[in-house]
């Protein structure tokens, strides 16, 4: 069993504190994605697990063993780097087998493990080429092959897809997920791309400024964001946030005059006069006749469309509520002219209320 745990892990660079006491327990075979904007400490955290950065304070364990003072080679991990980090002077075959050669495995075992990895990743044709003769996607696959050859306890991925073009990225994403389903190892994966996080993760760890903001399954983070940062980071387009004020116990008055009822989840948890941010996703604001028919509380709004982004199956409509730019979605789209006024329905059950001062979600 290869659990990975981090307890109160801290990283200092000089006097700058890059990671502030992180606690995290990763289960055996789990695919965990560390995601966050650049500079949030996710890569540093990964590199501390790998042993490439010293751990300033706290404890990291892999498979029940404290690894703080072990060099990377004694942690039984393998890592896939953003720039692939292939050995330029070795062929694909040599790259794949290198760790086993270093471990003094016998030749037959090396050949077998290398062929196996090549089979899994479809590298058979490329075995005698040098990295310089490979495309980006091929290099990435070699890097992954190099990682699986060793049968490590844990795979670490450091933004492995960010150097690939969009199409290849989607393709490789699927391959990584397949790889995980096939080998079943624990994977810790760092990315700044929330789509990668959503699609790959069993559990997402969202980080900001060296802190963990929220840990949960992709749908938990999507449906129940802890604060406005999570709400706007996860999901595309980001959640709409409109400033407002609670009036009485049942109504939120959005600045600019529009009023909406308090969503059921927040009822009773807010007080009269409290400043809040009212949040909802584009999927929950749809023009009448172009929405999903769902039961539940709804509010009717008449809004002027300022910009459209047709995507085929849906069109993203830009509009304004109380002076804030807001995005809505139109299913089965018809052409919409900028300036057109449409009737929208807001699914109140799916709306969120955040405290304006703390940015924390108000939810029962």
């Amino acid at each position: 069993m290869t659990e990975v745990t981090l307890s109160n892990v801290v990283k200092y660079y000089g006097k700058h504190r890059a990671v502030h006491g992180i606690n995290l327990a990763i289960n055996d075979g789990e695919f965990v994605v560390l995601v966050g904007p650049s500079g949030c400490g996710k890569s540093t955290t990964l590199r501390m697990i790998a042993g490439l950065e010293d751990i300033s304070d706290g404890e990291v364990t892999i498979a029940g063993r404290v690894v703080n003072d072990l060099p990377p080679r004694e942690r039984n991990i393998s890592m896939v780097f953003q720039n692939y980090a292939l050995y330029p002077h070795m062929t694909v075959r040599e790259n794949l087998g290198f760790s086993l050669v270093i471990a003094k495995a016998d030749e037959a075992a090396i050949a077998k493990a290398v062929d196996e990895a090549a089979e899994i990743l479809g590298l058979n044709e490329l075995m005698d080429r040098k990295p310089a003769e490979l495309s980006g996607g091929q290099r990435q696959r070699v890097a992954m092959g190099r990682a699986i050859v060793r049968h490590p306890d844990v795979f670490l991925f450091d933004e492995p897809l960010s150097n690939l073009d969009a199409k290849l990225r989607t393709q490789m994403r699927v391959e990584i997920k397949k790889l995980h389903q096939r080998v079943g190892n624990t994977i810790i994966y760092v990315t700044h791309d929330q789509v990668e996080a959503m699609t790959l993760a069993d559990r997402i760890v969202l980080m900001q400024d060296g802190h963990i903001v929220q840990v949960g399954t992709p749908l938990e983070l999507f449906n129940k964001p802890n604060n406005t940062f999570v709400a706007t980071f996860i999901g595309s387009p980001p959640m709409n946030l409109v400033d407002g004020k609670v009036v009485g116990a049942e109504t939120i008055e959005l600045y600019g005059g529009l009023s909406v009822p308090v969503p059921a989840a927040a009822r009773g948890l807010i007080s009269d006069g409290q400043h809040v941010k009212f949040g909802f996703r584009a999927d929950n604001l749809m023009p009448v006749g172009h929405s999903v028919q769902e039961e539940g509380e709804k509010a009717d709004l008449e809004l002027k469309v300022t910009l459209t982004e047709p995507l085929g199956t849906e069109t993203v409509l830009f509009t304004e509520i109380a002076g804030n730019e807001v995005q809505a979605k139109m299913l089965n789209p018809r052409p919409v002219r900028p300036g057109e006024v449409l009737k929208f329905q807001l699914m109140l059950d799916k709306c969120h209320v955040f405290d304006a001062a703390s940015a924390e979600a108000i939810r029962g």
Partner: protein, 297 residues
């Protein structure tokens, strides 16, 4: 009245042709020609006497020439290898320095800033058997032997090699350091994760990457050392009794002391083969090493 005019391109290139002819072509042809004559500086008329390959035949059967030739090859081999090892060591250590590295790099270049003649004088003093620094230190440490540093054949070679290495190791150090700076960090980290110890990382990842830089330094230095003259001339003059005679001290003695310029030129042409061989060898190695690490060959 039409004058035939030379084509424009020719006129434009003419100055370059003239300069190259004056400084390269004519001396080259002249020296090649004179190597087939018994040309003596003291008797200019000998320049017009053609003796065919007589000089070359004489050289090929001349034990003094071949011992100077062999000594030069030995000198080259020892100096290049030691400079490589020391330079590599210095570069690796410099690469670890985090504070004051620029200053250190400048200091490292100091020996190269001296004229080789001065370096020769400096070491001539240091190794002097009578008043020299080394023997004085040895004596004050209780040894009563005055070692004949520049007189004994082996010690004299050692002293010259020491001076040469002192002066030029930084060529290797600087070029290898440049290689280390250019080295991508990722493969080093990948090697750590793949289970390499520090030595294995160096052996399997760092060194292959540095090889092109090493061969560039080798090429430059082999040409440099093959024409070693100044330090040797100052420190021992090729002596005593030709025990430190290298090709260039032999040639200059033959040409200017004995005034047998025809013979000296013939020696020059034979010994150039040495430099060409070394250069070709290192260039081959260089492009192979570049191909290895995926640089355009």
């Amino acid at each position: 009245m039409t004058r035939r005019r030379l084509p424009e391109w020719f006129v434009l290139l003419l100055p370059a042709f003239i300069v190259i002819a004056a400084v390269v072509l004519i001396p080259l042809i002249f020296s090649l020609y004179s190597s087939f004559t018994p040309y003596k500086l003291t008797r200019p008329s000998t320049l017009w006497k053609w003796v065919g390959t007589f000089n070359y035949e004489k050289i090929l059967s001349d034990a003094k020439f071949w011992s100077a030739f062999g000594r030069t090859v030995l000198f080259l081999t020892i100096v290049l290898n030691l400079e490589l090892l020391l330079g590599l060591g210095i570069a690796l250590m410099m690469n670890k320095v985090t504070w004051g590295q620029r200053t250190l790099r400048t200091i490292l270049m100091f020996p190269m800033m001296f004229s080789p003649i001065l370096v020769g004088f400096q070491f001539k003093f240091i190794f002097n058997d009578n008043i020299g620094l080394v023997n004085n230190v040895l004596q004050s440490l209780g040894s009563d032997a005055a070692l004949p540093w520049l007189v004994d054949g082996k010690l004299a070679m050692f002293s010259i090699i020491f001076a040469e290495i002192w002066m030029s190791t930084s060529v290797f150090a600087i070029l290898i350091l440049a290689g280390l700076f250019a080295m991508p960090r990722d493969p080093l980290e990948a090697a750590k994760v793949d289970g390499c110890t520090a030595w294995q990382t160096f052996r399997h990842i760092t060194l292959p990457f540095l090889m092109p830089f090493i061969y560039i330094a080798m090429t430059i230095r082999s040409l440099d050392v093959a024409r070693a003259y100044d330090i040797v001339q100052i420190m021992t003059g090729g002596g005593p009794a030709r025990r430190t005679e290298l090709l260039w001290t032999l040639m200059s003695r033959t040409g200017y002391v004995d005034a047998r310029m025809g013979l000296a030129n013939a020696m020059g042409y034979v010994s150039i083969i040495l430099s060409i061989l070394f250069t070709v060898y290192f260039f081959r190695k260089l492009s192979a090493a570049r191909g290895q690490i995926g640089m355009a060959g």
